[in-house]
């Protein structure tokens, strides 16, 4: 097989599963991270973090279902994830924004798969990650999901 041939159905399915797994891992980390952030962040942002936590749980469950539907064992969450060294409100806000950037990049990867249903899911999830970044006080980049928001 040459490098320019079209991907086989198996290769296409494998790529979709790999992208789904990456997105699910990002959502696991987001759920864990938002739980940590909500516990320590200032009262004015706590409700926002809890709302974001619930949204990530919903996306996590959706990804879990997509993988299960493909007869793939979804990866579980880890016992611990890297957490910020500082626990002030600004540090936690930046930490939460980083979680959104990570999930946005994972969904951009998922947007490349041929499955139109997964593309739709990825597009909607990327939009939501962008909106949550703005709700946290972040800035809007021209190309959300790409590294640094730039092309």
């Amino acid at each position: 097989m040459t490098g320019t041939s079209e991907p086989t159905p198996t290769e296409t399915a494998d790529a979709a599963v790999a992208a789904l797994r990456d997105a699910l891992l990002a959502e696991h980390a987001a759920v864990y991270g938002y739980g940590f952030a909500a516990a320590g962040i200032g009262a004015d942002l706590r409700e926002l973090c809890l709302a974001h936590l619930e949204e990530h749980r919903a996306w996590r469950d959706a990804l879990h279902g997509e993988l299960a539907a493909r007869n793939t064992v979804p990866p579980g969450g880890e016992d611990a994830y890297q957490l910020p060294e500082e626990d002030g409100t600004e540090a936690l806000r930046a930490f939460a924004a980083g979680l959104e950037e990570t999930t946005a990049q994972a969904y951009l990867e998922l947007a490349a798969v041929p499955d139109t249903g997964l593309r739709d899911l990825a597009g909607r999830a990327l939009r939501e990650a962008t909106r949550r970044t703005l709700a946290l006080g972040g800035t809007l980049s021209a190309f959300p999901g790409f590294p640094g928001g730039e092309l």
Partner: protein, 160 residues
């Protein structure tokens, strides 16, 4: 990021659908010749829409119809950057396909943030649709990202 990119040959092989699109003749107010691939059709549609959005922002800012012209200039700048990237992806041609709607399109009326927000909502919805239709995975990613930016515009205009 993994490389899902299809070969250019594979993209061009989408000509069968392109022929169907071309054979269908008039698609609303836009028309493209049959040799235009589905991806090029999507690109040209997105470019035409972006040009209209930029014109709407310019009309709104110039007329003083918006409360936060600085924000509107920033958002217009995003659209201009999207336009540049979309145009870069167009295949080289000796002659450009004629676009019947754009030259005679009326200048947009000045609108306020609410009008711009509605336009952005429609644009983001179109990007989600184009994301599902793109043949080239890299183009699909571009539509996903541009749509997310437009959804961000909706959020910012709602708070302006």
């Amino acid at each position: 990021m993994r490389d899902h990119a299809l070969s250019r040959r594979a993209v061009l092989a989408g000509g069968a659908l392109a022929a169907v699109l071309g054979a269908s003749g008039c698609r609303g107010s836009d028309w493209y010749p049959s040799e235009v691939t589905p991806d090029e059709y999507l690109l040209r549609a997105a470019i035409a829409e972006k040009e209209r959005l930029v014109a709407r922002y310019t009309a709104a800012i110039d007329a003083g119809a918006v409360r936060d012209p600085g924000l509107c200039e920033e958002l217009r700048g995003h659209h201009e950057r999207h336009l540049a990237v979309l145009r870069d992806r167009l295949p080289p041609r000796d002659t450009e396909p004629e676009v019947s709607a754009s030259p005679g399109a009326p200048a947009p009326e000045a609108t306020d943030e609410e009008g711009l927000r509605l336009a952005e909502e429609a644009a983001a919805a179109n990007r989600l649709r184009q994301l599902g239709q793109a043949t080239d995975p890299a183009l699909a990613q571009l539509f996903a990202s541009v749509g997310a930016c437009e959804a961000g515009h909706v959020h910012l205009l709602s708070e302006a």
